[in-house]
């Protein structure tokens, strides 16, 4: 609840700006979220595959 009030207050403080600027902020936030998810997943996938390759050599860590 406090978070929501804080968010509402922040939006009100920035309230002098026009709606287009809110849209710009959220649009780029949306793109960032859209990029963060796959990048994180791909990074994790590559890390795990690398670890698996190393584990294969020493026959440890797989199930």
């Amino acid at each position: 609840m406090n978070g929501l009030i804080l968010l509402a207050s922040i939006l009100r403080i920035i309230g002098q700006t026009t709606a287009d600027q809110y849209d710009n902020i959220l649009f780029y936030l949306m793109i960032a979220l859209w990029i963060i998810m796959p990048v994180f997943i791909v990074y994790e996938e590559i890390t795990e595959r690398r670890a698996l390759r190393e584990a294969d050599k020493s026959e440890e860590g797989t199930a």
């Binding site: 929501l4 849209d23 997943i41 791909v42 860590g61």
Partner: protein, 392 residues
């Protein structure tokens, strides 16, 4: 100061939501919705081997939660707050007074952001509970049967849920549908972009929940259930209970997609929740990307959603290259991609890899020459310490 600098930079840019940006927002929104459904499906089928052919049921439960339960609570709160709402108590009046009532509630939400966001959270909470309850009820008759029968039951229930929605007008307005108040009415700009951000955030949260579960011992239990349930039962695990829990959990998460779709289009009609869209497209995403890993699910979702939205939005430009109506192209792609993937890449574009458990060496543990990286495997440490103490 930094706020002013950021606003200065942003205000020098052109308005975001115009032309091609509208397409980007639309693709992001549907990517967010379908990736939630596809991840839940991956959780059930890719990791536990439960072939949920009724994803549409869980999505429709989410949407019906908004139209049948939360909408009434909204009206009750608005009426208690002094808004002159028309009577909505009998099913006929629920439909015909709906547009004027929703307009009044929108006015309330425009002036009270906290209340509006509270209703969004309430909708998500109730939808998760209702989705889990649906999963439990679906599991009752069919979970003990073989996968084929479970699939048949789930497909049938997906159609049955639409029939319920069509005939019981109190749920979602029957064939006419009902309008849903805009919980982002307080936001001064474009509603689509704020809904897309919230949906992607929910997708991200769902991803981390699924990831945590799959990396936990329960995830390994799920994989063993998929590989050989007889072996699992023979070591004393409750196979039916595990399956039921998985179905309940994934159903709850899938219902979130139904809620966000209802708030995005601000309208709920049972005909928007067809099996082809909410079950077969997520299945295509899963099969295309590769079941059993989240990277595959994301890749499949990205390809399919982008392809679909591009066909819909540029249908007039694409039409000149085909001799048949371009509206059939979606279905042709659905079938064609599925056939091609099954022939050339049966394990998907990103095949499932072996499970990696950092720091644990099972071969050496058996010989008691274990050197485990305990920081990476705290659970294993507890078990190992307990075993040592038992030996002493």
């Amino acid at each position: 100061m930094y706020t002013n600098i950021a606003l200065g930079i942003l205000s020098s840019m052109p308005a975001a939501i115009q032309g091609i940006d509208r397409l980007v927002v639309d693709i992001a929104m549907f990517f967010g919705l379908l990736v939630i459904v596809a991840m839940a499906l991956n959780f059930q089928y890719g990791n536990a081997g439960i072939p949920n052919m009724g994803c549409a049921v869980q999505v429709i439960v989410g949407a019906f939660t908004v139209s049948g339960i939360v909408l009434r609570i909204m009206f009750m709160v608005a009426a208690a707050g002094g808004l002159p709402l028309d009577d909505w108590n009998d099913p006929f009046k629920f439909i015909y007074s709906n547009p004027s009532n929703v307009r009044l509630v929108n006015g309330l939400f425009a002036s009270d952001a906290v209340l509006a966001m509270g209703f969004l959270l309430l909708s998500l909470g109730i939808a998760v509970l209702m989705g889990a309850l649906t999963g439990y009820l679906l599991a009752l008759p069919a979970i003990r049967l073989r996968a084929t029968y479970l699939m048949i039951v789930l497909i049938t229930v997906a159609d049955a849920s639409q029939i319920f929605g069509r005939n019981i007008t109190g749920i979602s307005g029957g064939t006419l549908g009902v309008w849903i108040p805009n919980v982002f009415a307080w936001y001064p700009g474009d509603i689509g972009v704020v809904t897309a951000v919230v949906t992607l955030l929910l997708g991200l949260i769902s991803f981390f929940i699924f990831r945590t579960m799959l990396n936990s011992p329960y995830g390994r239990l799920m994989r063993s259930l998929r590989e050989n349930e007889v072996t699992l039962a023979s070591v004393g695990k409750n196979v039916v209970g595990i399956r039921r829990n998985i179905l309940m959990f994934a159903s709850g998460i899938t219902a979130i997609a139904g809620v966000m779709n209802a708030f995005y289009v601000q309208f709920v009609n049972q005909s928007d929740y067809q099996r082809a869209y909410w079950t077969y497209w997520p299945w295509l995403m899963l099969i295309l990307g590769g079941p059993g890993n989240n990277a595959g699910t994301f890749l499949g979702a990205a390809i399919v959603v982008a392809l679909r939205r591009l066909i819909i939005i540029y249908k007039f430009q694409i039409q000149q290259f085909f001799f048949f109506p371009v509206s059939y192209l979606e279905d042709i792609i659905l079938g064609g991609l599925l056939v091609l993937v099954m022939i050339f890449r049966p394990s998907g574009l990103i095949p499932e890899k072996l499970l990696y458990i950092p720091g644990i060496n099972y071969a050496k543990m058996v010989k008691e020459e274990v050197k485990v990286d305990w920081r990476a495997a705290p659970k294993a440490r507890e078990t190992h310490v307990e075993k040592k103490e038992e030996k002493k």
